[in-house]
Symmetry: C2
DNA sequence: AATTCAGTTCGTAAAATTACGAACAATTAT
DNA sequence: ATAATTGTTCGTAATTTTACGAACTGAATT
């Protein structure tokens, strides 16, 4: 009667976290932009996207929290770039998930 | 003053939906299982996973809604399988996103 | 010093997600 | 017919997500 519940692996949790942060169209859009041009300003995004700047800021925060992007202060603006290391990790995890 | 907001593409929305449904460890676990053995019963999952069967059923419903799995009634059980067509679509979309 | 600009944080609200147990439905076994 | 098995649906609750406008911060300009 040993309740032998198999648990979910750490890499599955990590994968789910990356997938989750990519689970919103605005965040997909931002990442696709940064893949093309490596960096951008929040204002550029605000012009292109039909959302309030505070909402955009929240999405950027989510991406930062997940580690996928990083911001560099270039007064009076903030330059956002992909965090290559983390992006590669996400790529590896998701790629492996998809292809094996 | 033409409010020329660029909108998010349909494929970005689709990608986000697939990513979203993969954004939970339990659902990642289920998909990984189905990739290995193509089919399984809900009861098998219930034994392995530390969640209520009703919660599991909800996750299966999410995966069905996204099209990634399909259920076949094999009384008194239900056999779940990957929906190959949809899985390939998700693979293609996500793979392209990751690798270009 | 006051204004402007870019962007974040705060306060708030609505909706979606996650989770559980209880009740239910359908089939099988007794 | 009754009971057991498998899994879903229902009702509910707590948490998270998404979104907005207003207020704020820090730097640059006037």
């Amino acid at each position: 009667m040993s309740e032998n519940k198999q648990h979910i692996s750490e890499s599955q949790k990590k994968l789910a976290l990356y997938a989750k942060v990519l689970g919103h169209p605005v965040r997909v859009y931002i990442i696709e932009l940064l893949k093309r041009q490596t960096c951008c300003y929040s204002g550029d995004l605000a012009q292109e996207l039909p959302i309030a700047k505070s909402t955009l800021s929240q999405h950027l925060k989510e991406l930062k929290k997940a580690g996928l992007i990083q911001g560099e202060i270039k007064p009076p603006r903030i330059k956002y770039c992909l965090n290559i290391e983390k992006w590669e990790e996400a790529r590896a995890l998701l790629g492996d998930f998809l292809n094996t």
